[in-house]
């Protein structure tokens, strides 16, 4: 699973360089997120703009990635493509995460909720 990480203005941006987060890659994604976000800034933005498809395993892995951050840190999601957006809304996980239409939209909100 390819993830790219950059940190700017106290925010870590993790970009998923894959078209799918599905059952075949969910465990790898969760592990890669753990190592990528270890000891980073409090706010992490996950850029999903290249991800065209997610299934329930991938969704669970994103929830797990947020839990791994622990209290006081936050995972925001940016750039959801139509099918990914649909899965988040149908499962009401759009109420658990803050979703932004694009990475710049997410970056424009530069704050960490306590």
């Amino acid at each position: 699973m390819s993830l790219t990480s950059t940190t700017a203005d106290g925010t870590q941006i993790v970009t998923v360089n894959a078209e799918r987060i599905d059952a075949a890659m969910a465990i790898q994604f969760k592990e890669d997120m753990r190592s990528t976000t270890e000891n980073g800034p409090d706010r992490v933005i996950l850029d999903l703009s290249e991800v065209k498809f997610i299934d329930s395993s991938g969704l669970g892995a994103i929830v797990a990635a947020m839990k791994q951050l622990g209290q006081g840190r936050k995972l925001d999601l940016a750039g959801l493509t139509p099918m990914v957006d649909k899965v988040f809304r149908l499962t009401r996980m759009d109420t658990v995460f803050d979703l932004y239409p694009s990475l710049p939209d997410a970056q424009a909100v530069n704050r960490v909720e306590s």
Binding site: V63, K67, K86, L90
Partner: protein, 148 residues
């Protein structure tokens, strides 16, 4: 006029991925509108993942057999496997879980049946000597249904 096709593939995560994509691409070619084909892909992926993860758990991996019947208003997809039956012979309810909980208590699974039940118009399950047969029905508004 009903168009139909069937296929089968080995119940592994990677074969399931390409198998489902092939089925959905074919449905698009047959005129299922893009947005509904996306929804079929989400529901079918969950149904097939369940076969991969549960039906053949603890035994030699077998096949997933898929048959699609498409008429101008409806799509039926039957998903067959030779694995173990659903627990208590019943399909999971796929009810919503409480998301108004602390971070640690957020569910990381249990979304698959919720997605299937939200997206399919009707779901039927039958267990027979050959194994499991799950039938998903989707209402479809066909794009330019081709003349027979």
């Amino acid at each position: 006029m009903v168009d139909s096709f069937s296929c089968s593939f080995t119940a592994t995560e990677l074969d399931a991925r390409t198998g489902v994509q092939d089925v959905v691409n074919r449905l698009r070619e047959m005129g299922v509108p893009e947005a509904r084909a996306d929804e079929v892909q989400i529901a079918l992926t969950e149904a097939v993942n369940n076969v991969v993860e549960h039906a053949y758990a603890g035994m030699d991996v077998g096949d997933v057999r898929i048959r699609c019947n498409l008429d101008p208003e409806q799509l039926w997809i039957s998903i067959g496997d030779a694995g173990v039956p659903f627990k208590d012979g019943q399909l999971p309810a796929g009810t919503r879980q409480d998301l108004n909980v602390s971070l640690e208590e957020l569910p990381e699974g249990g979304f698959g049946w919720l997605l299937i039940r939200e997206l399919a118009t009707d779901v039927q399950y039958e267990r027979n000597d050959a194994g499991n047969n799950l039938s998903l029905r989707f209402e479809i508004q066909m794009r330019n249904a081709k003349p027979a």
